[in-house]
Amino acid sequence: MVVGGGIGGIQAALDLADSGFYVYLVEKSSSIGGKMSQLDKTFPTNDCSMCILSPKLVECGNHLNIEILTLSEIESVAGEEGDFHVRLIQHPRYIDVDKCIACGTCAEKCPKKLADDYNTGLMKRRAVYIRYPQAVPLKYVVDKENCIYFEKGKCRACEKFCPADAIDFDQKEIERTIDVGAIILACGFQPYDPAISDSYQYGRSPNVVTSLEFERILSASGPYQGHLVRPSDAREPKKIAWLQCVGSRNTRIGNKGYCSSVCCTYAIKQAIVAKEHSDGLLDTAVFYIDIRTHGKDFEKFFNRAKGEMGVRFEKSRINSILPGRDEGNLEITYLNGEGKVAKEDFDMVVLSVGLDIPQESIDLAQKMGIELNHYNFVRTGSFDPLQTSRPGIFVCGAFQGPRDIPETVIQASGSAAAASSLLSGQRHTLTKEKEYPEEVDVTGKEPRIGLFVCHCGTNIAGVIDVTEVTEYASKLPYVLVAEENLFTCSQDTQVKIKENIREHQLNRVVVVSCSTRTHEPLFQNTIREAGLNPYLLSMANIRDQDSWVHQSNKAGATEKAKDLVRMAVASAAKLSPLYRTKLPVVKKVLIVGGGIAGMTAALNAAGQGFEVILVEIEKELGGFARNIQRTLQGDDVREYVANLIEAVNHHEKVEVLTEATLAGFSGTKGNFKTELSVGPTMHHREIAHGALVIATGASEYRPKEYLYGEHESVRTQVELENMLSTEGEKIKGWKNVVMIQCVGSRNNANPNCSRVCCQQAVKNAISLKEINPEANVFVLHKDIRTYGFAEDYYRKAREIGVHFMRYDEHEDPIVERADGKIHVTFMDLALAREITLESDQVILSTGVVAGNTEDLASKLKVPLTSEQFFLEAHVKLRPVDTQSDGIFVCGMAHSPKTIDESISQAMAASARACRLLSQDWIDVGGIVARVDPELCASCLVCVRACPYEVPFINDEGVSEIDISSCQGCGVCAAECPAKAIDLLHFEDTQILAQISALLEAS
């Protein structure tokens, strides 16, 4: 059972259901989607949040092995790990979900209007409503609290007008007891409510909004249809301020001592998006304490905001926010970076509110007997980040600690891995299998095309005249049906498409909406459910390629949309069905890298019942963690690593190969073949496996600067940490210790933040003060990035007298020898003057740099980031998948991270790998190259051109291309001098038909 239907719960449910388990997804509101559904864009790529979430919602809603229980709350959990009995209450919807067609008549007729909580109260909704247009399940709900009938005993307007007879006021609360083997808590967070404090003008001025409210203001489906205006007078703001750390890093406002981790980056995102909304004329200022852009590639995002986008960043302390000179404006008085008082007027103020745990989650934890930490987040261990205090109950996402979407998705997959391991004996015992109707044979039949044009809310319809396009499309050759929809990706539209296919015997479908990249699988599934081969779908992208990029040219955009539609229809007419074949899956995973991440993934996959080959390049397992003594929380890393090594070496399903390197790699997901060179003798081994996990870790930056290697008293944090346990006496003699942050990070050579060094410095600074309270410890930094609960230790360090001083990021400190001591000179930003510290010891907080990844990446054909870390398939929603199916990445090989984060990600990688291995068969084929043996001249051109060495000349003397190895790039088809090869679904006739359609009618 997964509790919470946000992105974390959805991911956990999907991973489990795809791995052979039946999942109950419990959601207290009327639909799944959580906070992510309310966001406008996601950092650092500024992808549309709903656009990437929506396919997951639909997948979840359509999944045979996920039962979504909306309006449900858990009452009690009896039993134990493997055998829980969950009693829950399902509140009545007052709508018969089997009858509701989501036409919206009920809401139209409902006389009651009230503030819409989905739109953070900025819009009105009715007492019968859906939370948002893409909601899953897409069924209306009666809000009992606000319904006139329930209040006064009469009205029932909705009932009277409902064309489907779906309103049912007699529905009662249902109590259910469900038996489950494991529970995952994915209850998420609530935004901090700034109304608790009166100092922000929140609630008094409508132009002071929370960041979530601002997301709705920016959103195309929000109160202003995506036009950036301020609430008081619907005027476009000229100046907007963001106030950071509202409800975070503050122990005086009620136990909010932690950093919420996400607000800095989301504020940067909002500032960039706001500027884009207003053609860059908008003045945006972010008032901050420290900018914490510690995520993968976030620092570059920050630099872009600061640089080319011109977002202002004011290091400051806010004194007051008061009504400004002009009506509706706000005046912010603050102490600036140099400690001087400044005043500024803004049209709008956005409060970057922190992540808070709602009371109902606290109550739920109590009902379940789960321990919470001092901030009411679920208590977990340093090495067990997903395990709650009650065995069999796991946690993921913001309920475990403040975190962003990718980290939530990682933990969600990780918790699914933990649950799968626990229940591996029960895999496939309760799941159902999907059966598609038999495919209609379309060979030789004249095309009958159905075409569906999407408004995408206002994303498309706000720019393109959708009705005109639909009308135009209806007259194109072979088009029998042309319809427009508000959201073509919504569940009800899928039903409509299927009905149309049956009613009009359609044999091709064209969806005119957005990107095939995100939405093709959804529509393919839909037409398949109606008996069409999934490849009989063609899409025209009139959003990403049109309405989004030609916003100011509505007529041009509409004309372009017609062209794109004409091309898609021409291509559709040429489509033919493609078939796939089943190949058995080799139920073994190969893990490259034997550090904490690799070993964790190995143990989990083995625990899930799969064979594991763990490949380590060094003589010993353990990886970089062998250099670390303790975690920030004080847990013993050495002991943990030793236990892990022991467990891995003794697990019967894990084979450990040390001093092993990858010599060759081939195959496709489910059927890889890896050649290894093993041991000191480098003997050759060939291993067949179904999945591969990259866990090769990263390296510590070796400084060339600051006298490192030249002066004995200059060392790295890792070197210091090793001394702390063994040379306490020597350390007692140190009077002045200077730590320098961001050595090898956040500079031109490595523009990213290394994420772990601030915590490391705080950890070691506290240790130094504990060994010798008299010592002066100075930490010279750009920003201190102790995100999450690590903020507690930063506070502790300051309390026990560690000095944190900010240096100018454009001017690195100077470290010089001086009479046996070392002088460290830097520009102190708070004092606005140069300071020289005489120190006994200089400790360098060295960054994390990628290991030697290039060779492995090229062998595996997996792309790297510009900093040579492995690149995930999607930054937000596929954080452990790579672009190559069946290959996953975790730990520091993905990006710098702490041990608990590496463990979570390793679990996630194992979940994704085991999801694949739990299938008995995988489908191959589809978009692959096909040789026409009649035309083949056996010229060998394809054999020579294929980058994957797939084609060969067979016994019949013609070229043959193995469909399970073909990657579908089409190079052979382009090169073939006899035109004997076509890339299916991208056949020459289809490409040429598009060219003709585009150019001949214009």
């Binding site: 990029v549 100011s552 040219n553 051109a945 088809a973 991208f986 490409i991 040429l992």
Partner: protein, 118 residues
């Protein structure tokens, strides 16, 4: 990122630029396109290893052939754009649009518009 670029551009999707063939580009010009550009991965970063390098050579071959026919070879171009680099995509679109605006309509198109059937 929704960066604006000229609305003169229509995209034909291929799985990899390695799939592009001389005939596709030739037919586009023959049927009246004023310009054609192939947008692939950055050199050395082809998802399919070297498809973009093959595409580049095909673009160059087509350019020579166009020159032989008497159509300005500058009307065809190959660009490497990282998948994540929206701004570069928009910049390239503008660059190509401006280049074609300077060259004016394709000599083929002038005739096609006069009503010569294809």
């Amino acid at each position: 990122m929704r960066l604006t670029y000229p609305d003169s551009i229509r995209i034909i999707r291929l799985p990899c630029t390695g799939k592009i063939d001389v005939i596709h580009m030739m037919e586009a010009f023959r049927k009246g396109a004023d310009g054609v550009y192939v947008a692939g991965c950055l050199e050395g970063e082809c998802h399919y290893l070297a498809g973009n390098l093959r595409a580049k050579k095909k673009v160059e071959y087509t350019r020579k052939l166009l020159d032989e026919i008497g159509i300005e070879g500058e009307r065809i171009e190959m660009y490497g754009i990282a998948a994540s680099d929206g701004p570069r995509f928009a910049e390239v679109a503008k660059e190509m649009h401006e280049k074609i605006m300077d060259l004016g309509p394709s000599p083929v198109k002038r005739v096609v518009r006069k009503g010569v059937p294809s």
